[in-house]
């Protein structure tokens, strides 16, 4: 099981993400590499999320190498920089790409000042 699959399985289990409360749209990830292109369709309805392997039309289609998607969900790189480097292609509404990238982790976390801030965070 790759990081990408784990990530989307986890997303499907959660079923809702408040960060996407404003969003109602379909976003499809096309994973390319050796073998057939794999599709992950994320349907978002006011933050309610369902995930399937359908190759259905979507308002935003993101395609890239499997290893690249793994690196993005592991926080090794970001959607925006991968796009600028020409490693990732986006078709459709780029605003959805920006909203979807909210789901992915960042590059490095956990410095001391951050931990201090986190401890103070109200529950």
């Amino acid at each position: 099981m790759t990081s990408t699959h784990e990530f989307f399985d986890d997303l499907a289990r959660r079923g809702h993400d408040p960060l996407l409360g404003r969003v109602t749209a379909d976003v499809r990830f096309d994973l390319v590499g050796s073998g057939e292109t794999e599709h992950i369709l994320v349907r978002i309805d006011h933050g309610d999320i369902t995930v399937s392997a359908e190759d259905a039309p979507a308002q935003c289609v993101v395609s890239g190498d499997r290893a690249l998607l793994d690196a993005i969900v592991d926080g090794g790189t970001s959607i925006m920089t991968a796009l600028l480097r020409g490693e990732l292609a986006v078709d459709g509404d780029p605003e959805l790409l920006v909203l979807t990238q909210r789901l992915f982790p960042g590059r490095v976390a956990g410095s001391r000042s951050e931990q201090a801030a986190r401890e103070r965070r109200s529950p």
């Binding site: 408040p18 960060l19 409360g21 404003r22 395609s63 890239g64 926080g75 790189t77 970001s78 925006m80 920089t81 796009l83 600028l84 480097r85 020409g86 490693e87 990732l88 292609a89 986006v90 780029p94 605003e95 790409l97 920006v98 909203l99 909210r102 992915f104 982790p105 960042g106 590059r107 490095v108 976390a109 956990g110 410095s111 000042s113 951050e114 201090a116 801030a117 986190r118 103070r120 965070r121 109200s122």
Partner: protein, 683 residues
Amino acid sequence: MSDGLVRILHGNTFVVSDTRGDIEASADDPTGLFSFDTRFLSRWVLTVGGERLTALSTDDLQYFETRFFLVPGTGTVYVNATLTVIRRRAVDDGFREQLTLLNHDGSPVELTVRVDADSDFADLFEVKDAMAKKGTRTTRVEDGRLVMAYERGTFQRTTTVSSTKPARADEQGLEFTVRIEPHGSWDTELHVVPTLLGPGGRRLLPDTPVATGRWQDMEDDLERWLAAAPRLVCDSDSLRATYRRSLVDLAALRFTPMIAGSRSLPAAGLPWFMTMFGRDSILTSLQALPFTPELAATTLRVLGDWQGTRVDDFRDEDPGRILHEMRYGELTAFEERPHSPYYGSADATPLYVVLLDEYERWTGDDELVRGFEPEARAALRWIDTYADLQGNGYVAYQRRNEQTGLENQCWKDSWDSISYHDGRLPGFPRATCELQGYAYDAKVRGARLARQFWGDPGYADELEAQAEDLKRRFNRDFWVEDGQYYALALDADGARVDALSSNIGHLLWSGIVDDDRAAAIADHLLGPRLFSGWGVRTLAEGEARYNPIGYHVGTVWPFDNSFIAWGLRRYGFKTEAARVAAGILDAADYFAGRLPEAFGGYDRDLTKYPVQYPTACSPQAWSTGAPLLFLRTLLGLDPMGEHLLVDPAVPVDIGVVELLDIPGRWGRIDAFGRGLVDVGRWP
């Protein structure tokens, strides 16, 4: 331009050339064709008959268009040419250049016309720091076109040069053999197209509307923009000229981020900052709200979409934080710089909530205010959690990216901007005073939004109680009793950083100043240590680091002054607000209506004219917005429910001011003011 450079721009594409229209960039100078933070053309030199040209005149037709009148030859004492060369250049996604040769002679002429072209594909950051490239450059000729390419792994950028008349293309440029009849002419149009390539050689970005447009479309767009803004009728020629210049420059600085469709927001400034900045885009949107409210809507939308959601030390990102700066160049792409986007700003987040509320007050667009409730709540949460780095309930900053992050994350972001009276620099984290004002204002305004639009009166009560508590603590902890003003900051130990600065003016704007202390603050702002006669200095005379030409330690910033004047009005200091406005608007006259980013803090009695800060960015968005906010302040415009209050306090010298068709929730309304306020005279 005073520096001998000619600049034209559209969105984030701009061309900087000499007065002949030529570009001969060195590694560290900002001439060339730039787009998406990359230099796509570093050489562009026209020769006719093997000779360079001399400029007779340069006409700035529009912000996106210039015309150069030239004759062949250089260095002659007088010109007796029989040939005129006209270059008419307009920026779109790249640029188009109409090249026309006129033969004034009675005999035909045959000559070679040549344009040399080259590209170094430098990232704007590399131009600033004169760095070397890591990828490979190639040049090829394809069907009479010159294609220059840069490749670093999958990162590909190209510049294509072509012409409407057939040319002989070689790897250094395009060449034409031209024959012109007596009193005849010859012309061609050159196209320079920058391209960002994605996987499989596809274009990375869709065409923007302008890329497919014609010269006329861009002119029509500018006319529409000017026609949609309120009309200013007034006695002062100077103010009218400044107003028009501001509207045109604001149009020029409109920037369409990748995700905004055809909508635009204000970019920060030319040449280094043609991109989205949290702070600059928000403050400029606030200044322009009574004139072009749609800028605020796009700013709120795009900054909201990009709001931080995770903890990322490299980008100084936290959940709820509003971005500082977005870049698209090579160093950003390879994560050698954190601008994808970078979040290291401590003021953009509270200011986001301030803009959201002010936008609704003017426009009545409750849909946006409801739609972005989660973002506003996350921003308010950030203030109390991630921003509280000192653990004392104040907003503070300290970068986590120590290599390429920003040290000072307030608007005064140069290294020496925050100092004690004796010149020492405090450690980190730093809690500058204006940040507390913004946080207070964000809570007060957030409470109004919660009560009126989010159906959450409990949260509103909570925010109001927090705001009240913050104001009480702030007036206790920041007050410098000896000097009767607020400290510039609290240091890492919670001690006062006791310099007297312009930041106290922003505190008036935010409303965090106790009523019984406002007069003391106004006295300082208009007193001899801070007020130069042209405006309020960033740092007061008598502070150890004061320097009238120090970037944030003594210069006068028009944008800073526009918010200070707004603050003075808020506390009822009408005459003082008018004095500040009059000083800066007088200064604008010396810059043909285009206020620079900053000018020297010298006494007005000493210099008689405002001295421009050496490397000031121009046009710069929040300087461009300053005259607009001054107009609002002088006319005392403030929305009250469904109405617009007008309470003018206009300087005598400005005379009668009529601002017609002010857009807002009331539809369109007119405001009138008569110059009755005596602001004093300067010799």
